[in-house]
Structure formats: C-alpha cells, structure tokens
C-alpha cells in the first residue's frame, strides 16, 4: 500500500510533479503513463527517495518514508530500471545478492535465496549463476534485473520502463511473466511506461500524467470507455481503442447459451481474439468450451460489437 499525498517536486522554479495524490492498493499493479517530461519517472523516484519531494508526503504501508534513512528505505523497495543497470563486474549470482548483501544476510541464506530466484526466473542455477551480465541475452538480463530487485522480498516493486530495451516478441512474454509473478507473490507494483498498450495490459489501475499533473486515475476499462477530456482522450483515442477495450474482457463473460459450429474458443480468451477468429472464419458465432466441462455455450459477433461500443 502506497499513499502519495499532495506531493510536489520543483527543479528550480519549474515543477516536475505538482501537488499529486495517488493511492496504490496493496498487491495491485499501477501503471504510470505519460509522454517524456510528464513527471512519471520523477514521481516513481520520489517513492524510494532517489529524488526528495519538495513538499507533500509519501507513506508505504502506513509509514512515512521520511522517517527512514534513504538507503535503508531503498533496501526495502525493489527497483528495476530500463537497461537494468546490472553490475558488469559481478556474476549473475552476486548481482542478485546485492541487497541481501547490503542487509548483511548470512552466506547460506543468500545462497539459498539466489538459487530460489534463479529457479523462479527460469535461469539455470548451476550454469547461469557464475556468468557475467554481458554473457546473457537481453531477456535473461531483464529477468536478472527483476530477480535482483525482488531478492530481499520487498513488498513494493518500482519499475521504470522495465521492458523498454526488449524486442517486441520477448517483451510480450516478459509482460506475461511479470503478471504471473505478481499474482504469485502479491507484491505491490508501480510501473512507469510511455506505452499505453503496456499500461492497459499490466495495470489494475492506470495513472495518466501530463506536465507533472495526474489527469486520470482509473481502471483500464474506465480509461478506455470514459477517458478524461483533452490529453487522455487524445492519448487513447486512436483507431485501436475499441480493440483495446475488447482485449480487456474474457469470452466467458459474454458467452450465451446455445450451440454453434466450428472450432471452439477458450473461456479465458479475450474478446479481441474471438473477434479476430470470427472475422477470419467468416461466421457470426463460434462454440465456447469451459474448463470444467460445463454446458456448451457460444460467442456471438453481435455481443462482441456491443461490448466494443465506446458509449454504453
């Protein structure tokens, strides 16, 4: 749980972040989205006090961050940046052990934790642990960066464009992995991105910033359906908007009783996938299968189109 309360940051006379308040629920993902210079990174870096707020206060799990020395605060908060900033002169294992080492864990505990994380992130504990960062692929480096941030089991993870350096295919996979990981660990994540697609895909809630101000803070569905007038509307208002909206809803939520011919859709596929399948097959309904052998249902084109309408 992060409470950001009336926080401002001035660089000289110009505000980077101005009187901004935000509440991040425990165990949720909030994506901060905006153009460069919107203040989103400054806001993120004020949470772990890499940048000190000029005014206002930030509380993590009820505790004002100002009451803790900066270094101690940061050791308790995971931090992942674009390009990862892995220490090139340290092995993968030592990189991951950075914060546990700073916290003075004993060697066996650190070793156990590093092994556990390597396994969790699909890295070979015996083979990869002794490698240096430059010997890893981009995707592996990214995973080591996240593993390093989570090493001391922080309750909060801050991520600044964590997928920015990955190519599109690996990026999609890395996003999936992050979502799965977050569900498993229940860690609270604040993630900065300039990519609306990413913000929608990952965020339980999206905070849209422009020129240091918070313009809208809502769920992805709400941002797409009812964007705040002006900047947000322009940001989400391109031709993809109905499709983005569809990608947020699962087939199972819209399926109706009845039969249909053709290959069946899974219940947890998105409406966007279903629409694409319907168009490709040139039909207006397809059968839907439930995981637990529930009665057969079907998904209809008309129901999908109704969901894509922007003004319900």
């Amino acid at each position: 749980m992060i409470e950001i309360d009336g926080v401002s940051r001035y660089f000289g006379a110009s505000p980077a972040v101005e009187n901004l308040s935000l509440f991040v629920e425990r165990g949720s993902i909030v994506t901060l989205v905006g153009t460069s210079g919107s203040g989103k990174s400054t806001l993120l870096r004020m949470i772990n006090r890499l940048i000190e707020p000029t005014s206002g206060s930030i509380r993590i799990d009820g505790r004002d961050t100002k009451t803790v020395p900066g270094e101690k605060l940061r050791r308790g908060i995971g931090y992942v940046i674009q390009g990862y900033g892995l220490f090139p002169h340290w092995t993968v294992a030592r990189n991951i052990a950075t914060v546990p080492n700073l916290l003075g864990w004993d060697a066996t505990r650190i070793e156990r934790r590093v092994r556990e994380l390597l396994l969790l992130f699909g890295l070979d504990a015996a083979f990869d642990a002794g490698k240096f960062p430059h010997e890893l692929s981009g995707g592996q480096q990214q995973r080591v960066g996240v593993a390093r941030a989570l090493a001391a089991e922080p309750s909060v993870l801050l991520m600044d464009e964590p997928f920015g350096a990955l190519d599109p295919i690996i990026r999609a996979k890395a996003r999936e992995d992050l979502l799965a990981l977050q569900r498993r660990l229940g860690v609270t994540i604040v993630l900065v991105t300039h990519d609306m697609e990413e913000a929608i895909k990952l965020g339980d809630r999206i905070a849209i910033m422009d020129r240091g101000r918070l313009l809208q803070y809502a769920t992805p569905a709400e941002v797409l359906a009812r964007p705040a007038p002006g900047f947000v509307e322009r940001l989400v208002g391109d031709s993809d908007r109905p499709f983005r909206l569809l990608s947020l809803t699962k087939v199972g939520e819209v399926a109706e009783p009845g039969e249909a011919d053709g290959p069946s859709m899974a219940e947890d596929a998105s409406l966007r996938d279903a629409l694409s399948e319907l168009i490709a097959r040139g039909v207006d309904r397809l059968p839907v299968v439930a995981a637990g052998g529930a009665p057969r249902r079907r998904i209809a084109l008309s129901a999908i189109l109704a969901r894509a309408r922007l003004t319900p």
Binding site: E71, R74, H89, W90, T98, L102, F132
Partner: protein, 402 residues
C-alpha cells in the same frame, strides 16, 4: 581481380606480379632491405685504442674469424629470405628470434678476435651495423607477436623468456669483453645502487601521485567546477620542461632547508632526491587524475542509478561499483606515469637525484659513449618491462569482466 583471372586463365606476365602480391610479405621487404644495409654497408663493430679516442669501423668479416662470420651471414640470409615470404606468424617469430639471438651471441666473440688479453685499455663496441640488425630482427619479432594477439599471461611469459635469454648471456660472461660491460665492471657497485635509487624514485613518486590523485580524481568527477579548475592547472604543469621543473624545485626547497635546518636532516634540500621526487609527483598527477575522471565517467548511468536504487551508500557505491569499474582506466594512467617516471628520473640525476642518469651525464661529460649506454640501456629496459607488465595487468583485470 579473381573474376578476371578466372575468365582469362592464360598466365603471362601477370603471374610474376601475382606471385609477388600473394607470396611476398611487404614488411619483410623493408626488413630485408634494412638487414642488407646493416650487414653490407655498415660496420659491425668498432675498435678503439682506449675509451675516449675515436675508433676503427670493422665489417663482419673483419671483426670476426671466418668460422663465426660465415655461419652468421648464412643465418642472416636465411632469416631474411624467410621474412620475405608470407608464412605463419609463429614461423616468423621463430625466425626473427633465432636471428636476433644469433646476432646478440656473435657480438660477444668480437673482442677476443680483435684484442689480445694483455691490452686492457682497448675498447670493442657494437657499431651501427649491429644495431641495425638488432632493430630489424626486433621488428620481425614484434610484428607476429602483435598478429598472434597473445593474452596477458602469454605476453608476460614471452617477456620472461626474453629476460632469461639476455640474463643468460650476461651471466655467461660472453659480453664481458664489450666496452659497455667494461664500464659496468668499473662501476659495478654504484650501478646497482643507482639502479635501486632509479626504481625507488619512479615508484615512490608514482605511489604519492596515486595517493593524492585518486581522491582528487574522484572529487573532480563529483564536482565539475573543481574539475574545470584542476585539470587545466595540471596540464600546464605537464608542459614545463623537466630540466626547468627540476630547477624550479631547487629554489624553494633550498630556502626552506636554510630556514628550517631540521627539514634538511630529513633529506629535504634544494638538491637530491626530495626535489626530484616532488617534480616527478607533479608530472604524475595529470595522467592519474585524468584517468580516474574518465574511468568514473565511462560507467553507464544505469549502473550508478541501480547502485543508488538498491540502497548502497555513497561510500559503498564508490568502493563496490565505481572504483572497480574504473580500475582498468586508473591502471592505464598508472602505466603512463610509471613509464614516464622511469624516463624522467634519468634527468633527475642533474640535481643529484641519483639513478641511471648519473652514468648518462657522467658519460656525456667525459665524451664516453659507453658510459652513456650503461645508463641509457637499463633505463630503456626498465621502461619496456614496466610497460609490458602494466599492459598485461590492465588487460587481465579488464578481460575478466566487461
């Protein structure tokens, strides 16, 4: 070219040019010409009645008995022919090394051939032909070594092998008839004393420069205003000629010692080791400070940001991340300073600093070239060894990560 060659397979006048282009090594041509000049048109050794008078220049067959001169010429001819052809680097290395060792060994036989043992005043010295041959074959060795791209440990091993060969020749007494070694024999005590002083001055001024330069470099990187002030001042110091610098040191230190006699008892005087050391230290500061600054600045911003974000204190960040990552650059600065100091210490002899420069300036004063060589050759050898060792160390440290 190859396309044309295939389309018109007839071989005519082109084949000779082709043969030259494909089979003849270009550097080999230069080296062959050099060796030919050294062997045919320059004297191999000189014979002087005593150490001061000018001597008589002698070719290979005049300086050596035929039984030694003929095999030497054959060896040189064989080496030159092989150098002309394009062969594997290891082959060229072997050829160059055997020719070089051959020339170095054979020069040792000259004195016995020219001078009878009961004439202690006569001096036999290697002449320009010998030096040209040594130079040509050294190039023939260094070229394949560079091409082989040896790792740091292999280069140190090669250096050790070379040192053992030269050391072996020296220990065997093969060269003891040569004039430089006769100078050594008369100066043996002070030679090692001055050698130790030379190394001591080079290393202590270096240590002092690192001790001061490292924190100064770190401060310069942190505070751009300090950097903009310190680096230009240090560059100006670098431009002061060394003799002027040693002179400049004499006046203030001399005054200081006159005012506080106690200082003089600790060796802080206008002449001697103290002013030499301070001058060398001042020269050393720029390379050290500049390399520390560059080393710290080349660290990617992401790494520094991550170190801060992980909760490292300023001190932890510096000691665990920044200095280790800057180390190859800092060591490069140390290498520059070490080689530079080994050379500059020679000049320090002018103000009584000691070192191999003593022989150089004594030799210059007495017009005794051999005495100059007794100071100059070890200085060059020291600088050469220091450069190779430091390069290997830098590469070794930088190669283990990246």
């Amino acid at each position: 070219m190859t396309l044309l060659g295939e389309a018109f397979p007839s071989r005519g006048s082109a084949s000779a040019a082709e043969f030259v282009g494909q089979r003849v090594d270009k550097l080999g041509v230069v080296l062959a010409a050099l060796a030919a000049v050294g062997l045919l048109f320059q004297p191999f050794a000189t014979l002087k009645a005593n150490r001061i008078v000018s001597g008589k220049a002698l070719g290979v067959f005049d300086a050596l008995p035929g039984a030694i001169a003929a095999p030497l010429v054959a060896l040189i001819l064989a080496a030159v022919l092989l150098a002309l052809l394009r062969t594997r680097p290891t082959m060229r290395l072997a050829v160059g090394a055997s020719a070089l060792v051959g020339v170095l060994v054979v020069i040792g036989f000259v004195p016995a051939h020219l001078v009878s043992l009961d004439n202690p005043l006569a001096r036999v010295a290697p002449a320009s032909g010998f030096w040209i041959l040594v130079f040509a074959f050294t190039i023939l060795i260094t070229d394949p070594i560079a091409k082989l791209n040896l790792g740091p440990s292999a280069r140190v091993a090669a250096l050790a092998a070379a040192a053992m060969i030269v050391g072996g020749i020296l220990m065997s007494g093969l060269w003891s008839g040569l004039s430089v070694m006769k100078e050594y024999a008369t100066h043996a005590d002070s030679f090692w004393q001055d050698g130790a002083r030379h190394v001591e001055l080079s290393l202590s001024s270096l240590a002092l420069a690192v001790l001061v330069g490292l924190p100064l470099g770190i401060a310069c990187q942190r505070a751009p205003t300090l950097r903009d002030l310190a680096l230009p001042v240090l560059s100006i110091i670098q431009t002061i000629p060394s003799i002027a610098m040693f002179g400049l040191m004499m006046a203030p230190l001399g005054l200081l010692a006159a005012r506080f006699p106690l200082l003089g008892q600790f060796g802080i005087r206008g002449i001697g080791a103290a002013p030499a050391m301070i001058a060398l230290f001042l020269y050393s500061l720029l390379p050290v400070v500049a390399n520390v600054v560059v080393g710290l600045q080349q660290i990617s911003a992401g790494v520094v940001e991550a170190a801060r974000g992980m909760g490292m204190t300023e001190r932890q960040r510096l000691l665990r991340v920044e200095l280790p990552l800057a180390a190859p650059f800092v060591l490069t600065g140390v290498r520059v300073v070490l080689v530079q100091n080994i050379g500059l210490v020679t000049v320090a002899a002018l103000i009584g600093g000691g070192g191999f420069g003593e022989f150089v300036f004594q030799g210059l004063g007495q017009s005794a070239t051999d005495l100059v060589l007794l100071g100059a050759v070890p200085t060059i050898a020291l600088a050469f060894v220091a450069a190779i060792l430091m390069d290997a160390l830098v590469e070794f440290i930088a190669g283990r990560r990246r």
